[in-house]
Symmetry: C2
C-alpha cells in the first residue's frame, strides 16, 4: 500500500487546529508532531505542562511550535479542550491519555459539550490494498446495538465522512448475514427498511441497498454468481453493520488479516473527534488525523442541510459511552 | 499463498467416499472430479443419471470412475445420499444442486438422518496468507444466535475440526467487541462463562479465553500494547462469534479483503458435510472437500468421548435451517 499516495489525497486546503485533551503521553505527542510536520494540523495541547515538556524532551519530540494550555487534571483537560473547540479556537478534537468515558463526558455534556443535533457515532476508515479502495465501517465502537432510527443516523454520519473524503454519493451496504429478508433476522428487516427510506428521500446524499452479505457488498464476482441486481452490490463505500460485534470483528479482520490502513473517527459532534488507540500503528494515527482534517471544511455545511434532530438518540447515548474501546 | 502446500498437509491417509446429494450440476461435478483426481475422495453421485451423464459430456468431466445412484427427485437424492452415509457406504456427505433447507431436512431427519448427539454447526476454515496460519470461524451460516449452552457446543464442534486438521489443543477466542466484561453486552458475559467452563473441565480438549476482541485474538503486538495476559490472545485457532452477523461478515472480510483460502463445513452430524457455494472459487471447493476428508478418520473416536447429548439443541435447530446461505 502506498501510504504517501493515500495521505497526499487527503491534504486539507487549510491547515486545521487540532486540540488534544490530556496530551501528556509520548505516543500522542509523536503522532501530533508528525501531523504538524506534514502540515496537516497545528496542535494545541491541553494538559499538564510539566509532564508534556518532560515527555517531549525525553522522546525528542519538537513541540516548540505547539500551544500548551494548562489543565489541573485530565478531566479538566477534556473540558478545556472541548471548550476551545466549542468557542471556535480549534477545528478538530483529539483524545489524549484519559479514560474514554471521561473524555466522552466532556464531549457529550449538554451545556458545554460539542453535541450536534444527531448522535455521536464511530466511523472506521479503511484503505484496503487488496480491494484498492477506501471503505467506511460503522459502528465498531460507539453505538453497540442501533435500532432502525439510529441506523439511519449512523448512515448520515458516515455519508458525511465519505463526502469529506471525496466520495460524493457514497454507496451504502446495509449488511446482514444473508441477502434475503428473513423475518427471524432483524438485520435483514432493518436493511430493507433503510433501503426504502433512502428511496423515499428519508436518507439523502447516498444510495442504500440491503440486506447484503459482505461478499455481495465488495465482490463484483460474488454479485454475478448470485445474480443480484443492485447499484450498491460489489462496490459499496459504506458498510452499515447490525451490531458492534459484527462491525468490530470485521474492521479488525480487515486490519489484521487484510493489511488495511485504519483511521478511527467519532462524528456527529460539532467537530470531528480523533480517537486513536495506543495499539494503532503510527501510520494509523496519522491517517486518523488526516481524515479528520479532510472533514472539517465540510462539517458545518452538510450538517445544517440534512441532519434532522432526533431527540431520543442523544439521550439514549448516555448509556453507551463505555462501548468505545 | 501456496495452495498446493496447504493441500499436501491435508492429504488423508485413506481415500474417503464422498456421497453427493443431487449431483446434476457442472460446478459440483468439476469439484468432485478434481478431488478424485487428487485422490482425496471417491465420489458417489446421487441424482438424475441422464442429467449427470449429459453435463459430464458437455463439460468434459470424467465420471467413468464414479458410482451413480439414481434418484427420482432432488429431495429423494438427498434422502438417498444421507441413507448411504448412514449405512456406512460413504464417509462424507456433500450438498449438490438443491435448496439448502431441503438438503438439511434429510440430514436432520430424526428417523433416517445423520444427527449426532449434539447440534449441527458451520465451521469456516480459513488459511490466511498474511497471518500464515489456519483459523476456524463459527458460526457464519447455521446457528444464527447461539445462547451460552449452544456456544459450548459450537466450540466442541470446532475443536473436532481443529483436531482433524492437526491442531491438537486448539486455542479458542470467545470474541466480543471489547476485552472487558460489560453487563450490557451479552457477548462479553457469555465469553467469561465459557472461559470458566473450560477451566472447570466442562469444555475439553482446548484452551478457551474471552472476552477478546479480534485484534487481541490474532495479533501479538496488539496483546502487548494492551497488556493482556492470556494463553489464547495473539494466537487463537478458533474464533467463536456472538452472532451470525459478526461471524459472516468477518469470514467474508478475511476472504474478500484478506485473500484467505476458504473451506466450509457443517459438523456435528455423524459425518462431515460439505456445503460449497456456487460463488466459492474452485480452490475453495477443493479445500472444503479436503478438510472434510481430514476429519473423517477422527470423527467417531472424538465424538464418542466428549460430546454429551443436549436434548434442547437439536430441537431448537429446526427453526434455523434457513440461515444457511
Amino acid at each position: 500500500m502506498d501510504f504517501e499516495k493515500i495521505m497526499a489525497q487527503l491534504r486539507p486546503p487549510l491547515k486545521q487546529r487540532l486540540v488534544v485533551a490530556a496530551a501528556e503521553d509520548d505516543m500522542v505527542l509523536k503522532a501530533v508532531a508528525a501531523a504538524q510536520q506534514r502540515e496537516l494540523v497545528d496542535p494545541i495541547l491541553c494538559g499538564d505542562p510539566v509532564a508534556i515538556e518532560k515527555l517531549a524532551r525525553q522522546w525528542a519530540v519538537d513541540i516548540s511550535h505547539m500551544e500548551v494550555v494548562p489543565a489541573a487534571s485530565r478531566a479538566e483537560a477534556a473540558r478545556t479542550a472541548v471548550s476551545l473547540v466549542r468557542r471556535g479556537h480549534g477545528e478538530i478534537l483529539m483524545k489524549g491519555i484519559l479514560p474514554t468515558a471521561e473524555f466522552l463526558r466532556a464531549v457529550l455534556d449538554k451545556e458545554n459539550g460539542l453535541r450536534g443535533p444527531g448522535i455521536l457515532s464511530h466511523v472506521g476508515v479503511l484503505h484496503s490494498p487488496m480491494l484498492d479502495r477506501t471503505l467506511l465501517l460503522t459502528d465498531a465502537a460507539m453505538v453497540p446495538y442501533p435500532d432502525l432510527k439510529t441506523k439511519a443516523e449512523l448512515i448520515r454520519n458516515a455519508v458525511h465522512v465519505a463526502r469529506g473524503l471525496g466520495i460524493h454519493t457514497p454507496k451504502v451496504a446495509a449488511l446482514a448475514a444473508v441477502e434475503v429478508v428473513n423475518p427471524d433476522m432483524q438485520a435483514t428487516i432493518d436493511a430493507a427498511a433503510l433501503t426504502i427510506m433512502n428511496r423515499r428521500g428519508q436518507i439523502k446524499d447516498c444510495i442504500v441497498d440491503g440486506p447484503l452479505a459482505l461478499d455481495l457488498a465488495v465482490s463484483a464476482e460474488a454479485v454475478q454468481h448470485k445474480g443480484i441486481r443492485s447499484e450498491v452490490a460489489g462496490r459499496a463505500d459504506i458498510f452499515l453493520f447490525h451490531n458492534i460485534e459484527a462491525a468490530n470483528s470485521t474492521l479488525k479482520g480487515f486490519v489484521f488479516g487484510g493489511g488495511c490502513l485504519f483511521g478511527g473517527l467519532l462524528v456527529g459532534a460539532r467537530a470531528p473527534v480523533v480517537v486513536a488507540s495506543r495499539s494503532d500503528s503510527d501510520h494509523a494515527k496519522l491517517y486518523s488525523i488526516a481524515c479528520a482534517a479532510a472533514l472539517t471544511e465540510t462539517t458545518s455545511a452538510i450538517r445544517e442541510i440534512h441532519v434532522e434532530p432526533v431527540d431520543a438518540s442523544p439521550r439514549r447515548q448516555e448509556g453507551v459511552q463505555s462501548a468505545v474501546n
